[in-house]
């Protein structure tokens, strides 16, 4: 049965509590900070997409220069606070920490980053000063990580920025997509306000490109336009039964969960989540944490080919989520218009496909899962229609750029809408790159 309000308020709070708790005390942070070796040309920095000077910010914790530490972080990554909670660090900075080479626990870089940035945010230290206005104006579409990062750099350089955002809150998927046990809505709001605290950035909420505003308008009224609209809902499965009651889109499911409060979100007794990427993990763990009895993640290939990190899969497993490998959804069976079962083809691995992953091939056998809810998480759909309608070159919706600029005059783009969906930290870097390209462009015009 699909129903909401399965748990008590205390249980919800417990299940959605911070998955990576912060250092409780200054001493705890110092002990860890002092363990850092202050590497030269540090491997951790090299694997940070925004190239935060990690040895420096950690050293600054040990010298009691928290302001400097926060500045070091924010100067490379204005979403350094959020990133410290959501980055898949095991494949980024912490995965490269030299301690791994001694078979020792890597430095808890993210936790230290959280330490400094949280203090900065709590005290509302505004660590960047805007240069005098240059009179230049830039429009940004989408107040997600890419848009905010781009806006911050531009504003510091004296550009007047206007962001058009279709939702009523900023932060993009940080606010609406990322698992609730990683960041709270309050934190996301605080982070957006902290970033906007630099000044010079005007956010116009509930303004959607293609609906309330057009690209031509923006081109006309601004010196440059930056598109950072992210990607849309999950891909369709294109199998029978997709319209039954109880079939949900992972992105929508998580959006509601983030937006509406845990107790109002319905989950089934037995849930199948289709896909094995980060979104699938988040949907599965959160369905379980909302009180579902059984959650099974279904993937066409084997564990070796999964798109999520091992760390994320471990979280799902620890939450009690089951996995079904080598199973491709074939049909969703319903009764009275509601989901009753998911039928999957049993697959085997064949030759590598174009991306180098072994292609799954149907064996002819099937397997049936008794479920009352199916969550689709097989990758997100870029806004192909929207971008094509403006004549923007794209690859199945992913905007094509050369040095951050699209084929349309004055129009730049970056983040998920270009890369098809990566991490927050990649979007932040894209925003910085976009901003420098825009600055260079405006200087020459």
């Amino acid at each position: 049965m699909i129903q909401n309000n399965r748990l008590t308020e205390t249980q919800y709070q417990q299940n959605f509590a911070d998955i990576h708790p912060p250092f409780e005390t200054t001493d705890a942070a110092l002990t860890e900070a002092n363990r850092c070796l202050f590497c030269y040309d540090a491997p951790c920095t090299k694997l940070c997409p925004t190239s935060i000077n990690i040895p420096k910010f950690i050293k600054q914790i040990t010298t009691d220069n928290i302001k400097g530490s926060a500045h070091t972080i924010f100067q490379s990554n204005i979403m350094g606070a959020g990133c410290s909670k959501v980055c898949p660090v095991e494949k980024l900075c912490e995965g490269a920490c030299v301690y791994n080479n001694m078979d020792e626990t890597p430095i808890h870089i993210a936790k230290l980053q959280r330490y400094s940035t949280e203090i900065a945010m709590k005290n509302n230290w505004q660590l960047f000063e805007r240069k005098q206005s240059t009179g230049k104006k830039v429009a940004i579409v989408g107040a997600g990580p890419a848009g905010l990062s781009c806006a911050h750099v531009l504003s510091i350089e004296g550009v007047d920025v206007t962001i058009y955002e279709k939702e009523s809150k900023g932060g993009g998927l940080m606010t609406y997509g990322i698992a609730a046990y990683k960041v709270t809505p309050q934190f996301c709001e605080d982070e957006v306000n902290y970033i906007l605290g630099v000044g010079g950035i005007d956010v116009k909420y509930n303004q959607e490109l293609g609906k309330n505003i057009s690209l031509e308008e923006l081109q006309r009224n601004y010196d440059a336009v930056y598109l950072s609209i992210g990607v849309g809902l999950a891909n369709k499965l294109n199998i029978p039964g997709e319209n039954l009651e109880g079939v949900e889109d992972a992105i929508e499911f998580i959006y509601n969960l983030r937006d509406k409060g845990y107790s109002s979100i319905k989950v089934g007794d037995r849930v199948a989540v289709i896909g094995m990427g980060m979104t699938a993990i988040d949907a599965a763990t959160q369905a379980k944490r909302l009180g579902s009895n059984e959650v099974t993640m279904v993937y066409r290939r084997t564990e070796a080919e999964k798109n999520c990190t091992q760390h994320e899969l471990d979280i799902a497993r620890l939450d009690g989520c089951a996995t079904l490998w080598l199973a491709a959804p074939k049909e969703i069976v319903g009764k009275n218009g509601k989901v009753k079962a998911l039928v999957c083809d049993v697959m085997k691995l064949g030759e590598p496909d174009a991306k180098g992953k072994p292609a799954p091939i149907a064996t002819g056998e099937t397997v049936t899962l008794d479920v009352d809810m199916v969550i689709k998480a097989t990758g997100q759909n870029p806004f192909e229609q929207l971008v094509s309608s403006y004549g923007i070159n794209n690859n199945r919706g992913k905007i094509n750029i050369v040095n951050n600029v699209t084929n349309i005059d004055k129009v730049f783009a970056g983040g998920d809408c270009v890369n098809g969906g990566k991490e927050v930290v990649d979007a932040v870097q894209a925003g910085k790159d976009g901003a420098s390209a825009i600055l260079k462009f405006m200087l020459n015009n």
């Binding site: 070796l37 590497c39 030269y40 040990t62 030299v98 080479n101």
Partner: protein, 422 residues
Amino acid sequence: MASLETNFLGIKSPNPFWLASAPPTDKKINVLRAYEAGWGGVVWKTLGSQVKNVSSRYSAVDYHGSRIMGFNNIELISDRPLDINLKEITEVVKLFPDRAMIVSLMADNNRESWHELIKKCEDAGAMGFELNFGCPHGMTERGMGAAVGQDPHIAKMVVEWVMEKATIPVITKLTPNVHSVVPTGRAAVEGGTNALSLINTIQSVTGIDLDTLVPNPYVAGKSVFGGYCGPAVKPIALKFLTTISQDELTSKVPISGIGGISTWKDAVEFMLLGATSVQVCTAAMKHGFRIVEDMCEGMSNWMDEKGFKTINDFIGKSVEKITHWEDLDINYHHIAKINQDACIHCGLCYIACEDTSHQSINIQQGNPYNTYTIKEDECVGCNLCKLVCPVAECITMEEHRVAPDYINWKMWQAEGRALNDH
């Protein structure tokens, strides 16, 4: 198993680990606890005229997350009444007759005071005396402590007064607040002292509170120079000890080594440079008396491994290994070598050598790990890279003699050889 038994001028102790004259040895409760924990002896907190202490009294230097790299105090000699101290000494000696009981003294600056104090302490059961010529604060202003230790003439005179009266062994404790401890050491030996001990604390300012701008330790908005000790002073103590061990006159008497001893290894080093017993203060004040267990076990295991049966088998063994710079062999050369299997790619060796030494390490960019190798032709063998490398045995120094024969600086010059080869 090796024996740690120590015989210092006839004063016996089951091991060479004594507690230095300081708060750990200032009353019966502490000293009994120390003996129960296994300490071989104590030097009772310095006795003299009645004094009064201030509050606060201590400060410290922390380093990279470790507390008390160096310790600092502005305390005076014992502030407890003399008769209570004497009564407790008697009681302790009765309970633990097998442990060394040395009593530290700092009488007023006249013969009578010294004689009187000596008599009382001998009657109380002291087995030996240590003359405190080292306290760098509080007492110097009254012509005592370091004020005596800094002037060889006065030191000799006071030692002579003491030797007139004392019937038990006398150790003279030297202050390091001089450019050389040898003149006072010699004066004390000439005055008749039976032994020397060193070092006492070093005058210091440990730090300043960056909010109040008042240095520490804080006493009502002011501070004073204090006496510095603990791990930070060990290298300085070892140097002073070596000069005493190498001097013709002072090397004739036994030495009790003091200054920054925290482990059995530190103790072995002091003994290799000539100390017969060692004294500990800061390490005990930081960790309590239990540290003596590993000190005994560690020294004993090391002695077994090296085949030393008694401590006399290794005392002084490194003294002759410290020579003069001009006698060093210039043809000796070694070159750093990086074990690539052990290397964790932290780059610390590279940046140290590149920025501050001889630009002798190659960097080959990698993502995320760079590879570092030694430019053998450039390396001067300074050791810096090995010292900064966080992985034990990752960088080794390999011997590559320039030529087989020994040649020192004087010979080199006499032969008119080229001076600058880099």
